[in-house]
Symmetry: C2
Subunit: 188 residues, 2 copies
DNA sequence: CGCAAGAGTGAGTGGTCGACCACACACGCA
DNA sequence: TGCGTGTGTGGTCGACCACTCACTCTTGCG
């Protein structure tokens, strides 16, 4: 039942932000190649044609979405670092990990990062975005935590393990091997 | 029933194996959704139509390729374990990691696993194959190495970190953050 | 009000994809 | 030599893709 009321137009910039936000959910399930621009439009509540008024092509749209995800991850890590129990590297890294776990309790953000990683293999523009995103993130974690090389590496390795667990829905499987892989990983 | 005799031309079973082997290279760059069955046929030296004579559909084909990859990884880990310097868990795990590093010096095998992980999010049949593959692999590594939960988890977390490094071509980037992430990871 | 600038879309376009089918060719066997 | 079976392909089909354009509607403003 459609309610007939005067249309409220958004500015193009507002629409672009809406698309960036909602497209995360669209790209999360089937990734760059498997998601259509029609689905992106539908998720944002606009026509597919208008998606192309806001972004020059599908690749630019996906890159923008990926960058948006990295920005949100970064913000989440900052929040976590601010709430660390102490300034010891271990405490800061743990607080960051906890904040990250909260951020991705809705899995879509993490799944987009996984799909971005996959698409980075063949699409140079996406690869650049992923490289830049991880470069910034690694350097931020290093600076904010003061951890040594090994701690930083382990932090990101654990993150990648989370990608695996989420992508194959390991939480639905109750078996020794899933318990081994997900041991000690917080999940909200 | 059928007697095994030397044949000049390929049997369907031989062709199927050829496809499994060559399709790894085809799927490695653009994954499940981004790779066409025409590309798979071309890689195997057969027509696209004949791909559909050998496999019922694209999904079954991809699942078979993924299972083939897990089989090869498993074989590689067994070889590594057999050449371990001692039977201490650390030594066995290190030997396995080294064998794995050798196996994926050609990146295609690892990239298919990454793409399988991504496609597992939305395709139930692929998810089942990925789950089964990791289940077998985790249990094998646990049994063959005798490592504790934490060691096994770290082993796979490091593997996932390798996926990230390979997918975004980290070796081409000479920067502190790439050195941090790839520290201590053997590369052939 | 009048109207230009911008928001937003329906209806396509050309191209490609997965899947299918009729058919051609090669071989072992009687 | 001819036949049955299995290998292999060209051609095609409907669906759907990224992308475009002519067009309408809304809104702020003199």
């Amino acid at each position: 039942m459609k309610n007939e009321r005067p249309r409220q137009l958004s500015t193009a910039e507002e629409r672009r932000e809406t698309v960036l936000r909602t497209a995360i959910g669209a790209f999360a399930s089937r990734g760059y190649f498997g998601t259509t621009t029609t689905e992106v439009g539908k998720a944002a509540g606009i026509s597919q044609a208008y998606v192309y008024r806001l972004f020059p092509n599908k690749e630019s749209l996906f890159v923008a979405v990926v960058e948006h995800c990295f920005t949100r991850v970064r913000a989440s890590l900052e929040e976590g670092a601010a709430q660390a129990a102490s300034s010891a590297p271990e405490a800061v890294l743990h607080a960051m990990g906890d904040a990250y776990a909260k951020l991705i309790s809705d899995n879509d953000l993490m799944l987009v990062q996984l799909h971005a990683q996959a698409a980075a293999v063949s699409e140079p523009a996406i690869r650049d975005a992923v490289r830049a995103g991880y470069a910034r993130t690694v350097e931020y974690v290093r600076g904010a935590s003061g951890g040594d090389e090994r701690q930083i590496q382990e932090f990101f390795a654990t993150g990648m393990l989370c990608h695996l667990l989420v992508s194959m829905g390991a939480e639905e499987v109750d078996a020794p091997w899933t318990r081994t892989l997900s041991a000690g990983i917080t999940h909200y």
